[in-house]
């Protein structure tokens, strides 16, 4: 029967097949990674580890980049079949990024799921902390980065704290019960609380 996941080195390997949602995120990251580092946060972390619920968006933290870098990324996303909710014009979309406002991308002729592209800088202390402390996760040949599991749990319990978030946290606490560490919760709690 096997296990739901195994640990290999520093990577958590989830023992399942890829879904269409994974393929959507994988295609987006294939382009994004050429231009920037990233971190996937929130719902997708729980869903990719087996939480049985739908989602409309996949949240990805991306450090603010220069206008020319963003213009190149934007062009390549369009070439690869993505459209941006905010505008067809990268200059207009960059205005959002500059103001630290999220923008959204979906596949051409689709609305959902979408990628919520969340700009961050070191001034966003908690988000920058998780961004700089990634946990690698893999499903088949799809490897991606998420926050430390304890951080993700605390963020959902203390900051987001909606019904769906508390269930996501419960899921993570249960499925990773033999992986999560008490001392990590202590270490991360002060950082997470900066978001409150």
């Amino acid at each position: 029967m096997g296990a739901g996941y195994i640990i290999k080195g520093e990577v958590i390997i989830i023992n399942r097949e890829l879904t269409e949602l994974d393929r959507f995120v994988m295609d987006f990251l294939q382009v994004l990674k050429k231009h920037s580092d990233y971190l996937i946060v929130s719902g997708f972390v729980s869903i990719s580890t087996g939480r049985t619920r739908g989602t409309e968006d996949v949240d990805i933290l991306v450090p603010v980049m220069s206008k020319s870098q963003f213009t190149n990324l934007f062009a390549e996303l369009r070439e690869n079949g993505f459209w941006c909710y905010q505008s067809e014009n990268p200059d207009e979309v960059y205005d959002y990024i500059k103001e630290m406002v999220s923008v959204r991308f979906a596949r051409v002729k689709e609305m959902y799921p979408n990628i919520e592209f969340i700009p961050i800088t070191p001034a966003k202390k908690a988000k920058y902390f998780e961004f700089t402390h990634p946990q690698k996760m893999r499903v088949h040949n799809f490897e991606f980065k998420v926050p430390p599991i304890e951080f993700e749990i605390l963020y959902k319990e203390l900051v987001l704290a909606g019904d769906k978030d508390l269930k996501d946290a419960k899921h993570l606490r249960t499925i990773f019960s033999d992986l999560i560490k008490k001392e990590k919760f202590k270490e991360y709690e002060a950082v997470v609380r900066m978001e409150l």
């Binding site: 399942r16 419960k170 249960t174």
Partner: protein, 63 residues
Amino acid sequence: MKEIDYVELYARELKKNPALFRQQKMLIESQYNASRSLFRNMFQGEDYNQKAREYLRGIGLLK
């Protein structure tokens, strides 16, 4: 059983039995395909993005 207990029970079972991921895949892909089909029908034609933006403004997701 409370829903949150169900979440815990499912996660506990999933940990031992990865075959349960197949059910999860079916649910996720069913939502994915339903959404794709719904919005393709709603915003038919060449101006999909424009119609989609009007809809997004209507629901407050876009200013």
